[in-house]
Symmetry: C2
């Protein structure tokens, strides 16, 4: 039942040639005869040979492993990003090993250590929200491990980073609402101390300025990010004497809550009130009216992060890699909730 797995040496003995011949034949070495290559392939197949990556990796100093660290695997944004990463890295012959930080810095640090022990060639990470110190990543770099950060990044750290342009996104969304004919846009935001929200708000303000409109403090509600909070915030806005005729909610869940409030007030969406969400959560297509939102390109972000790692891996010797920060421009997903008012 438990017979030892066949190795390159077994194949060599079986064929009466040397192990190195087998190795070279399998790796398609130019100086090996086609004949031996064929025969080796056949015998390997026949004996059920599987290459041992640990031996290969040890010898070559390359594991073929890339580590990915996210706060939680099951959060839609991250799992989609991981898919994007796997798609390109798998294609390129790398295996990805994943770890969760549970949004705790110390777990993140520990995970980096696990990865370094595993000899990963690169680490792609979206950091825990309280991670301030980046010495664990610096340690990785010192060990020759490539590092790429996405979405939740450390601007000060000199590595490739992929993020989305929240300002631009909010700009586009706000413009879209005005273009559709809505005249007064209320904004419901998550905690403004978090950078993304802050930037989105800035985008909104920028459009007001650009189009020569007055910024009205009272049209902004800052709240936490639960469904209920979205509902309350919307209620507060809609119950004003001059309620807005559109709500730009800086997260889809907030938008959902807002929709509930609007519906309770008997207002038609999108005819009387336009709604715009943010993030493209998967439920946004399921609600009614379907929710216009901003695609954060989680999958593409994963793609980009993976490509960035590949670039670094390939630029290996040519010492000339200059860390770059890529800012992806998000795309509006116009659905029913914000469509053509007039």
């Amino acid at each position: 039942m438990k017979k030892r797995k066949p190795t390159i040496v077994d194949i060599a003995n079986y064929m009466g040639i040397s192990p190195s011949a087998v190795s070279k034949a399998m790796s398609n070495h130019p100086r090996m005869s086609e004949k031996t290559k064929k025969e080796v392939a056949k015998v390997a197949e026949q004996l059920g040979y599987q290459r041992n990556n640990m031996a290969t990796g040890l010898r070559k100093g390359k594991s073929g492993l890339i580590g990915v660290i996210v706060p939680y695997i099951h959060v839609n944004f991250f799992s989609t990003a991981i898919k994007g990463i796997e798609d390109v890295l798998g294609q390129a012959g790398y295996s990805i090993v994943i770890g969760q930080s549970k949004d705790e810095t110390n777990k993140e640090v520990a995970q980096v250590d696990v990865f370094l022990n595993a000899q990963v060639e690169g680490i792609i990470a979206s950091i825990a929200s309280n991670t301030k110190d980046s010495s664990h990543f610096i340690k990785a770099l010192a060990n020759g491990v490539k590092v790429v950060l996405f979405d939740r990044t450390i601007p000060e750290l000199d590595v490739d980073q992929i993020m989305i342009d929240d300002f631009d996104a909010a700009t586009k969304a706000t413009k879209h609402l005005f273009d559709q004919g809505y005249g007064k846009i209320g904004l419901i935001s998550g905690p403004l101390e978090l950078l993304p929200y802050k930037r989105r708000l800035d985008g909104y303000k920028a459009v007001l300025a650009q189009t020569g409109r007055e910024f009205d403090e009272n049209l902004i509600v800052e709240t936490d990010i639960s469904l209920e909070s979205g509902k309350k915030a919307a209620a507060q806005l809609m119950d004003r004497k001059n309620p807005p005729d559109a709500l730009f909610c800086l997260s889809d869940v907030l938008a959902l809550g807002a929709m509930n409030a609007v519906r309770e007030r008997g207002k038609k969406m999108p005819e009387e009130v336009g709604i715009m969400g943010f993030s493209n959560e998967n439920f946004t297509t399921y609600v009614s009216p379907s929710l216009s939102t901003v695609d954060q390109f989680s999958e593409q972000m994963g793609n980009h992060a993976a490509k960035a790692i590949l670039n670094q891996l390939r630029a290996e010797e040519s010492h000339n890699h200059v860390p770059s920060k890529q800012v992806l421009s998000p795309k509006l997903l116009i659905r029913e909730s914000s469509k053509i008012r007039k």
Copy 2:
């Protein structure tokens, strides 16, 4: 910039002792003096030593890697299961490497090969829907790799399998609706050639039989699993002369479609029509009324699968592992859409 990473030998030289002493000290060998252990630890820390798992693994014949194969990483059910897997395996000191089959058998087979090369100690998989042949898993087993299947399993294959009891789930859901006072339950199903749907339908029928009710063929609609299909199916049912007063939808998306149809007909939920979904997709708490559904325990499934692998790994020598099929009993999540009619 690119200095070689310190090895056990470097530590040994630095301290003037032998590499084996260092190795033994680090692995807390009983015959090593506390003094040396302390010192080794200190120097290791000081030189920034990181163990090389490839060397360790090669020598020990263990990689500390577990492979996970799912159709798609980003599907909520799977990513949640992966979280469940990572939680217990990470804790146990294993790293998990993941791969997607994209629901294609050949990719699944290829992925198994990749994992075998990577010397994973175990594989946890949810198979592609068209996978019929299981020789790739048999090959893995022959290589001494443990195999555990979850959710989408191969009953014929003699390995640990974790699945949920669809029959039981449907039974509970149906009973719940009757208990709430609904009298006539329409059922909207996905393709009945797929086993889970078939089993759920059976559960529904069983309750009718148990409670002495007549089974009415006309209350069953079989359709594909899109939102639109759910809506149409529900419309069809609600527009009958004697429409049902509750709809048991065998997937949450179908339920969402059904809710739209019901709402359009001006019927109140849950007062006039009760709705029950299946799977606990994350949007179910966001809709209004919040959707009662069946929790498929994706995370726990991952936990169980991981524990099963651990058991096998630990039972290694004791040759006495008997493959078992665990059937998890799903839990109803009673929310607003099915609550207390009278």
